[in-house]
């Protein structure tokens, strides 16, 4: 199996304390991978490192087959100011950023694509509505529409179904399945293990360090989950300096 991206001994630290510690793993290409682990396990940090929003203090992240430009990323707590006066259509159109950039005009094809994406997430008729009038679920649908339009080969989702009702979750999971059928690479942070088992053939279990990776049933065994929980969430103020040999 080819790797869509490869992490080699990646460590990301906040204030020198590692949030992701010596993680080496390959994310399979054209498949859906779930990242699972307790709170504070470094799941979000790992995604941010993949997008390039945080820098690894050690190790490297490789994209064997492509440039970084083809990544779509949905943060856990999106920093969208939902009071900002912008319409759903304009927001979704930003998904075409790599085509139209900061200065280009959105052509008929772009707007057509945005309308299709809005339709696909079940928001038909909402095109001209201001963002501020959307509910949390509708807003999440709009963000998915933007990602549809981004047409990215690698899609990173950070807890996309938090505080989202069952029906919206089911609709959005259907989009994830569509991406899988399109052979896109999806990496998704999730807490609901049943959701993971039902929709994600691959899983990656984190507890700051990598506990297990591979086919979901083999990675998420009770023993592995127990080990992940046992890895302290604590932030040890007296921790010594990590030497490469000690980690090996």
């Amino acid at each position: 199996m080819t790797a869509a991206l490869r992490l080699v001994d990646v460590t990301v630290a906040y204030d020198r304390h590692p949030a992701v510690h010596h993680v080496s793993v390959e994310i399979p290409e054209g498949a859906c991978t779930a990242i699972v682990g307790p709170n504070g396990a470094g799941k979000s940090t790992l995604l941010k490192a993949m997008v390039g929003l945080v820098r690894a203090v050690q190790g490297r992240i490789e994209f064997p087959r492509r440039t970084r430009a083809k990544i779509a990323y949905l943060p856990q707590q999106s920093d969208v100011d939902r009071t900002f006066p912008i319409s759903v259509l304009d927001m979704v159109l930003l998904g075409r950023w790599h085509g139209i950039g900061a200065f280009g005009a959105a052509g008929a094809a772009d707007i057509d694509g945005a309308m299709h994406a809005i339709d696909a997430v079940g928001l038909r008729g909402f095109e001209q509505r201001p963002l501020s009038t959307l509910s949390a679920g509708q807003f999440q649908r709009a963000l998915f529409a933007r990602m549809l339009l981004q047409d990215a080969e690698i899609i990173l989702l950070d807890e996309p179904f938090n505080a989202i009702d069952a029906r919206t979750t089911a609709d959005l999971l259907a989009l994830v399945r569509r991406w899988r059928e399109d052979r896109r690479t999806v990496v998704c942070v999730l807490h609901d293990l049943d959701q993971v088992r039902a929709n994600f053939p691959h899983a990656l279990l984190m507890a700051r360090e990598l506990i297990a990776a591979g086919p979901t049933e083999q990675a998420l065994t009770p023993a592995n989950l127990l080990r992940a929980r046992a890895m302290a969430e604590s932030w040890d103020d007296t921790a010594g300096i990590c030497h490469p040999s000690a980690a090996a």
């Binding site: 929003l53 990323y73 999106s78 920093d79 969208v80 006066p85 912008i86």
Partner: protein, 291 residues
């Protein structure tokens, strides 16, 4: 009827300086509306105020070196404004001090330093002149400066419009697609400073922000989109300039406070009567719909 004619148009027919001041105000309104709208949307109203005050020491040094010369004072003001914007950003980034606190500190320092410097060489009249503006000072050169500023602002805002909007409402997306949002933020700040420099001839450094901000705030009670907000703000700013100049002429008060007070009236009227979140909508909300 003649009386009304004399009252409304006489000053502009009779006096070249009033005509120049009026054109300056109209040009100023054109450029500064979009800047004002974005100052509000970026929640930077108070920072804008601090920036306006920060022009003072720069203008004062210009005054010290060149007397009441427009190019010297404008250049000084622009340099001081941009320097303050950059410094406050740097201080906020590298210390735990919040950006609003660092702007407040910068503003107090700037105001004190500016008044000191002007007082060293000039008279109280000069100080009043710089603080509160004087329409008598609007000559052809200032007019050219204001017109150039308006043009640069409109072109500049058109150029950075999209990244600036995204930087306002979703900076994380901009970062994720690999665009340096701070670049556009600072370009916008430079345009804001430029507009305040242009405004301070007529309005004074203390009030330079008035024509930028008040019409935009007032417009937010009427319009819900960036473009419509700017379009609503524009006539209010222009009217504030016109009526303020007339009041200033007929009552011999400084032009800055007169213009800004008229803009305040627009703000208060919008606050009371506007269609969005106004007092009127709070007291007598329209009946809710079925779905």
């Amino acid at each position: 009827m003649d009386f009304l004619w004399d009252f409304l148009f006489g000053p502009f027919v009779d006096h070249g300086f009033m005509r120049r001041a009026l054109v300056a105000c109209l040009a100023l309104s054109t450029g500064s509306c979009t800047v004002g709208v974005f100052l509000i949307l970026r929640r930077m109203s108070l920072m804008g105020d601090a920036l306006a005050h920060a022009l003072l020491p720069g203008a004062a040094i210009g005054f010290l070196l060149g007397g009441l010369s427009l190019p010297a004072m404008s250049a000084g003001g622009f340099v001081a404004g941009v320097a303050t914007a950059l410094l406050s950003g740097v201080v906020a980034r590298f210390t735990s001090l919040r950006e609003d606190a660092s702007f407040a500190a910068a503003y107090l320092t700037a105001l004190a330093a500016g008044v000191m410097i002007v007082s060293l060489k000039g008279s109280t009249v000069d100080l009043m002149h710089i603080l509160f503006g004087s329409i008598l000072a609007v000559d052809d050169l200032s007019l050219a400066l204001v017109a150039a500023t308006a043009s640069i602002t409109l072109l500049g805002m058109a150029a950075i419009y999209r990244p600036l909007v995204v930087e306002c409402f979703n900076p994380g997306f901009l970062a994720a697609v690999g665009v340096r949002g701070s670049l556009y933020h600072y370009a916008f700040l430079a345009l804001a400073v430029l507009n305040m420099v242009a405004a301070f001839q007529a309005l004074g450094t203390l009030m330079a922000l008035g024509l930028l901000l008040l019409p935009a705030v007032a417009a937010s009670f009427w319009a819900r989109q960036v473009v419509t907000m700017a379009l609503v703000a524009l006539p209010m700013a222009a009217m504030s300039g016109l009526v303020g100049l007339l009041i200033s002429y007929h009552t011999s008060v400084p032009s800055g406070p007169a213009i800004v007070l008229v803009a305040s009236l627009f703000y208060i009227a919008s606050l009371l009567l506007g269609t969005n979140d106004s007092v009127r909508m709070r007291l007598a909300p329209p009946a809710h719909l079925q779905a």
